[in-house]
């Protein structure tokens, strides 16, 4: 009965091994190895894992006796994490955190990705929890990587404390779920709780409530978002970009895996709770973002609002909802990465480069970056015909199909409010005048890897809109794999 079937787990193994290797590359005495080794090994690992994902693409396979399952859902989500990691390693080229500790930087990003892949492919509660903790512990260190900067340390410590509280609450929920069913295997839990006979059962309700709260912390959904702006602002910006894309995708993967994959029959009990989180996140995230003067903080609140949009798809509780979430996660990766890339580039040129005033007239001085930023902001706001619009449209129509029209209305209103701050950024970038003269101060050459990562992400925003149909088909395949018994 127990099949090892290691082949199905090769992507995870490759990424974890690449992470350990990359970390040890930072210990070499030779400067060239220290400088290029970690990034090269990580990128090689990412490419190898990607190839394995393409080869494994297909029906479900289980490894380690069901502990890890590789299906279209886990493979597609893994691809999202890998792309995010590759872009971040490119963007972090010559960033101070990554220069001083190259081995740790690239290695821990890979370890975090391995954890995320475990989350997406977990077959039982133990692997799910282990994955969440692997990614969290790696990220605590990554946030605090610039140990000479008080803010970075503060960010790491705050993330550790709130993250650990979230994990404990999640674990207690898992313990109660185990108590209600007597098994840790997700498929068996689904069988045990199938049908509606468990609807309203106190133990199961308590378990679901604790799991929603615990995952809410990880996805930074309101009211469990208090840590997000501080941590995002204090962490090295490339890590902020990684957290707001890959970590969010991992948290949403856990939401989908547990609620839609395992407990679809109890949707009546969990839908409203998740819908409330979604509404709160959209309202608080968008309104608070209006008042921010730091681009990093603004994007942090914008990521809270996007957690809300994504949770709409989870609350819909249908294949259509899951499909919309997966497609939007891909789009969200491209546009958020582009937005953060612009901040990363500016931050290296001037002190306080993340503040809005540092961007006055920046788009005129750097038209290419300006166009990339414009694409990202308009797509984040959901302007047709960009990819962000298609994603939001899918999410909202899934809510309407599920008889939750009010959710779609809140989401649409939130998008209108979000125009306020996205357009404000664009206004400052294109029309603003720098404080001291015509041109923005200190324009430095952008290193090639940074430029490549930025360009890839920006082109992906257009590509995902042009080739929306095939991407949506792939997302639907993944969503169906999630619900397959």
């Amino acid at each position: 009965m127990t099949h090892l079937n290691v082949v199905a787990a090769t992507p995870q193994i490759i990424v974890a091994a690449a992470g350990v290797l990359a970390m040890s590359m930072g210990l070499f005495n030779r400067y060239e190895i220290r400088r290029y080794g970690p990034s090269a090994i990580s990128l090689a690992g990412i490419v190898a894992a990607f190839v394995m994902i393409v080869l494994l693409w297909g029906d479900r396979e289980e490894a380690f006796g069901g502990g890890i399952r590789s299906d279209r859902f886990s493979l597609l989500l893994s691809a999202i994490f890998l792309v995010s990691a590759a872009l971040v390693i490119g963007l972090a080229w010559r960033e101070s955190a990554a220069v001083d500790r190259r081995g740790e930087f690239a290695g821990l990003v890979m370890v975090a990705v391995a954890g995320m892949m475990l989350v997406a492919s977990a077959g039982d509660l133990i692997v799910l929890f282990l994955g969440i903790e692997t990614l969290s512990v790696a990220l605590y260190v990554l946030c605090a990587l610039e140990v000479w900067r008080e803010r970075s340390l503060e960010s790491g410590l705050k993330y550790l404390i709130t993250g650990a509280v979230g994990s404990s609450i999640l674990l207690y929920g898992f313990a109660l779920l185990f108590g209600a069913t007597g098994t840790v295997d997700l498929a068996e839990i689904g069988e045990q709780l199938g049908g509606t006979s468990f609807a309203g059962e106190p133990l199961v309700i308590a378990a679901m409530a604790l799991i929603v709260v615990g995952l809410g912390f990880k996805a930074s959904a309101v009211p469990f978002h208090m840590w997000t702006p501080d941590v995002y602002e204090g962490a090295p910006t490339s890590i902020t970009a990684f957290m707001s894309t890959a970590t969010k995708a991992a948290a949403l993967a856990a939401f989908l895996r547990i609620f839609q994959g395992v407990l679809p029959d109890l949707a009546g009990d969990w839908r409203v709770a998740i819908a409330v989180l979604a509404v709160a996140s959209i309202v608080v995230g968008n309104v608070a973002a209006l008042a921010q003067d730091s681009l990093k903080r603004m994007l942090a609140y914008s990521s809270i609002a996007h957690a809300g949009y994504l949770l709409i798809g989870v609350a819909a509780g249908s294949v259509q909802g899951a499909e919309a979430v997966i497609y939007y996660l891909i789009v969200y990766l491209a546009m958020t990465m582009t937005a953060f890339a612009v901040v990363i580039i500016r931050e290296r040129e001037v002190e306080n480069g993340e503040m809005l005033e540092a961007f006055a007239g920046y788009a005129r001085a750097r038209p290419v970056l300006g166009v990339a930023a414009t694409l990202a902001m308009l797509s984040l706001a959901g302007f047709p015909p960009l990819a962000g619009f298609i994603g939001k449209f899918l999410l909202f129509s899934a809510a309407v199909e599920a008889n939750m029209t009010w959710l779609a209305i809140v989401g649409a209103l939130g998008s209108v409010v979000s125009l306020g701050y996205y357009l404000r950024i664009l206004g400052v970038m294109w029309l603003g005048t720098p404080a001291d003269g015509e041109r923005p101060a200190r324009l430095l050459a952008v290193p090639a890897p940074v430029m490549m990562a930025t360009g890839t992400a920006a082109i992906a925003i257009i590509g995902l809109a042009l080739f929306a149909d095939p991407m949506i088909d792939i997302s639907r395949g993944a969503a169906e794999a999630l619900l397959a018994p």
Partner: protein, 104 residues
């Protein structure tokens, strides 16, 4: 259910109390070291629940889970202590209410 020994309710009461004391500690305590300790209490509360249910269902799944959680908790505390030491070296006061460089 195993006939003799500690009843399930006792496990659940103790673990629930541990979890709540930990949660209160996280919210009330101001020293990051004490907050870390409180988080440990929460994790171990969940562990006791796992072990209790493991006995109730007569399976080892829950105990395996609890062992994994212990390793994870150890890793988390190591990172936490490392960060606290690094913060201390930066001569920040050890009081999370005074960590207000980041706000808005």
């Amino acid at each position: 259910m195993s006939g003799s020994g500690v009843p399930l309710l006792a496990y659940l009461l103790v673990s629930g109390a541990m979890f709540l004391i930990g949660l209160l500690g996280v919210m009330i305590r101001r020293n990051p070291l004490m907050v870390l300790l409180a988080v440990e209490l929460m994790l171990n509360g969940a562990n006791v629940t796992l072990v209790g249910f493991s006995r109730f269902w007569d399976t080892t799944d829950g105990q395996t889970f609890a062992l994994v959680v212990m390793v994870v908790a150890a890793a988390e505390v190591v990172i936490g202590l490392g960060l606290v030491v690094a913060v201390y070296r930066q001569r920040l006061r050890l009081n999370i209410d005074e960590m207000t460089r980041l706000r808005g």
